[in-house]
């Protein structure tokens, strides 16, 4: 059993009810587990929501995380993904004085586009694998981004 910290994506299907999110986050903070990102939204036409949690830990810790999550009463299922499609979205605000054509081309390479053009700023969005989002955010540094927001990853098993 390796003690190396591995990045892991865990999906949790929970009953969509009051305070269910705090149960999950309390579990992570209370037991000292990491949360890198967390997204949550209702599953259409059901009483459930789906959370995607990006976490890290040793094999033993990840196993405990999934078991402890499963122990929570409103949790229906926990998937710890092996083979998955992962996407994340990011939005970035640039000064309108930057080279819009350059930025637009870059966004296109990361499944994105300009979504808003204002008097002083433009806003773009990109949607791609989390690793590539990192990459994108590195590259756009030279266009003096004013604000960046990331959605956190969502994932589906293949």
């Amino acid at each position: 059993m390796s003690d190396n910290n591995e990045r892991r994506v865990v999906s949790v299907i929970v009953v969509n009810e009051a305070s269910v999110l705090s149960r999950i986050t309390d579990l992570f903070s209370g037991r000292g587990y990491n949360i890198t990102s967390l997204t949550v939204a209702p599953i259409p036409e059901s009483k459930y929501s789906r959370l995607t949690i990006v976490t890290s830990g040793s094999v033993r810790v990840i196993e405990q995380i999934t078991k402890q999550l499963h122990k929570l009463i409103p949790v229906l299922r926990v998937y710890e993904h092996e083979d998955l499609v992962e996407k994340e979205m990011a939005m970035v605000k640039f000064p309108a004085s930057e080279n819009i054509a350059d930025i637009s081309t870059l966004c296109a390479a990361y499944n994105g586009k300009i979504v808003n053009v204002g008097e002083n700023v433009i806003i773009v969005m990109v949607a791609d694998e989390p690793k590539r989002i990192e990459n994108f955010l590195k590259i756009i540094k030279r266009y003096s981004p004013k604000e960046i927001v990331r959605s956190g990853a969502v994932a589906l098993e293949r």
């Binding site: 009051a18 305070s19 705090s22 033993r60 078991k67 122990k71």
Partner: protein
């Protein structure tokens, strides 16, 4: 039936067969108390502190096997109860705790006596609810009892705003529960069980490691059967005392930090650990990397998260230990008790080398003697609770337990102040037995107000205070690991315990000699009123053996040979 929320609480408790509720009223829960006043189905025991109400419910539950029920008000009533919830959570005790809350319209406004109760209890309960509609109450209460008592048991907290207890809605308790997300796994995997039994039949030095889960599962008698039929020696955790009878030839003793030499050596030498309802607590394992180092591990537990949490299980079996042991009993044919003969002899040799014992003292009573003496005089006729400290460990080591549910002590949280109220709950659950609480001069003061409850409700608990004028367990660590710097553990300044008991209408005894002790105990058993028996014991006695925290189980500090000092 259309009734209000408060009436629903009463109806639900009655339908759940609750006969005793422990509690303390206040503004937010008054509607419910008004209905308690009007009903005759269950008894309400007014404790004198909310913490005590929860511990009493715990004691009641542990002695009876039923769900313990407690009721408290919002704000300070609830926060006083938190220690009790945490205690029950750590020791897997099934409770339903109902608290009042400020009315819905005031929630979030910092209203009088408002506190985010479910926010606080989330991390120390198995589950909790804030009920926002009276219409939800029947389902919530039914779920609460179900969740508390099934799977790995634990406390469930139900927080009810005051206006919800006044609101009228339909009450139908016959509705089927649909808990799609909660389905405890009770039946062990037959293939795994078969493999485990094969491993047992092949092992040379197998060892039963018995835990509190056996008591939760009411499986002690099945386990006794399994141990006898296989001829495999057994160690018990502190929480499992009474699973085997003290005089069972195959019981080696308690293991762990204050376990016997033979138990800890057996655990270190075994080649197959058979863990039943145990959680590999750090007080048991010592240094994990050295724990049962060369052994395979069978681990039966109803909580999957308990398995391979700390020690990797070679044969994990998720299921109710009663079911699993029954399956195991079907497969004992291949296990040959004679194969373990030399292993059993090894264990006996360990026990002869360093038996669990203590040295008598000519001047002062030794605390261990008191525990043994009560065992001799009352034995099976007493239920035993303890507070926390040295006296607690001596009770675990020296009392001759004969049956499950005879012993209740705060194991996981180690809550000083647990013992006396718990013993009241035990007495309420089984009035035919004498209810003894072994306590310390420190612990007893943490809930001594319960003398009043015990007098009023005629719960004649006998508190045996092993008075060493110290926070003894902490003093022991200071003596051993802090170069005798006894920082803030000297309790030389003390109340008059006899007068304290008398002030509440109880009875007090101060005891200096063995003869006085016998006389006091006999008198207290006869008197049928709550008692303090203060026994002046040797001040500097240490609990031995001891595995220093984080040390290996086989590296024990042992009782000094007589004359070593």
């Amino acid at each position: 039936m259309q009734i209000n929320g408060a009436q629903m609480v009463i109806e639900a408790l009655t339908l759940e067969g609750v006969d005793t509720v422990f509690g303390y009223p206040g503004g937010a829960i008054m509607n419910v108390y008004d209905e308690i006043y009007k009903q005759k189905d269950f008894k309400h025991i007014l404790t004198r502190h909310e913490q005590a109400a929860i511990h009493a419910a715990e004691g009641y539950s542990r002695a009876s096997g039923k769900v313990g029920v407690a009721m408290i008000t919002s704000g300070p009533g609830f926060t006083n109860a938190v220690t009790g919830l945490a205690d029950a959570y750590m020791d897997s005790i099934p409770l339903v705790v109902i608290s009042g809350q400020v009315p819905m319209s005031l929630i979030g406004t910092d209203a009088f006596q408002e506190i985010d109760a479910v926010g606080i209890s989330r991390s120390c309960t198995k589950h909790n609810y804030l009920v926002t509609n009276a219409a939800d109450l029947p389902r919530v209460l039914k779920e609460a009892f179900h969740i508390a008592s099934t799977g790995r048991p634990g406390p469930v907290h139900v927080d009810i705003p005051k206006d919800v207890t006044a609101e009228i809605a339909e009450f139908d308790y016959s509705v089927e529960l649909e808990l799609e997300t909660y389905k405890p796994h009770v039946k062990g995997n037959p293939r795994q069980i078969k493999k485990a039994m094969e491993a047992i039949s092949k092992a040379k030095r197998p060892l039963f490691y018995l835990g509190g889960g056996i008591i939760n599962a009411n499986a002690a008698y099945e386990v006794r059967d399994l141990v006898r039929r296989t001829g495999i020696p057994a160690v018990e955790t502190f929480m499992a005392r009474g699973v085997l009878s003290y005089d069972d030839e195959l019981l080696i003793g308690m293991l762990g930090m204050h376990g016997s030499y033979a138990s800890n050596m057996a655990m270190s030498e075994t080649d197959l650990v058979i863990g039943l309802g145990v959680r590999f607590d750090d007080r048991v394992t010592g240094k994990l990397s050295e724990f049962a180092k060369n052994a395979g591990v069978i681990h039966v537990d109803i909580d999957p998260a308990s398995i391979s949490k700390l020690v990797n299980a070679t044969y994990p079996i998720v299921g109710d230990v009663k079911n699993v042991v029954n399956e195991m009993l079907e497969l004992t044919g291949q296990v040959k008790p004679e194969n373990y003969k030399s292993w059993r002899e090894t264990v006996v040799n360990f026990a002869n080398l360093h038996p669990l014992t203590y040295h008598e003292d000519s001047e002062r009573i030794k605390p261990q003697w008191v525990v043994e003496r009560v065992g001799k005089l009352l034995g099976d006729d007493a239920n035993i609770s303890t507070d926390v400290g040295q006296h607690q460990m001596w009770t675990g080591q020296f009392y001759p337990f004969t049956r499950p549910r005879q012993f209740m002590s705060s194991g996981g949280l180690g809550t000083m102040g647990y013992g006396f109220p718990a013993a009241m709950g035990v007495k309420a659950a089984s009035p035919e037995k004498t209810s003894i609480n072994f306590t310390g001069d420190g612990s007893i003061l943490m809930n001594c107000q319960e003398l009043m409850t015990a007098v009023e409700k005629k719960l004649p608990v006998i508190n045996i205070i092993l008075n060493n004028n110290f926070l003894g367990m902490v003093r022991q660590w200071q003596t051993l690991f802090y170069d005798k710097r006894h920082s803030e553990t000297d309790l030389s300044v003390q109340p008059d315990f006899v007068k304290l008991a008398e002030a509440f209408g109880g009875i007090g005894y101060r005891v200096n000699t063995k003869e006085e002790f016998d006389a006091a105990l006999k008198d207290a058993v006869k008197k049928d009123v709550v008692a303090f028996i203060e026994v002046i014991v040797h001040r500097m006695e240490n609990v031995m053996p001891m595995v220093p925290a984080g040390g290996s189980l086989f590296n024990m500090m042992l009782l000094e040979k007589k004359g070593d000092k």
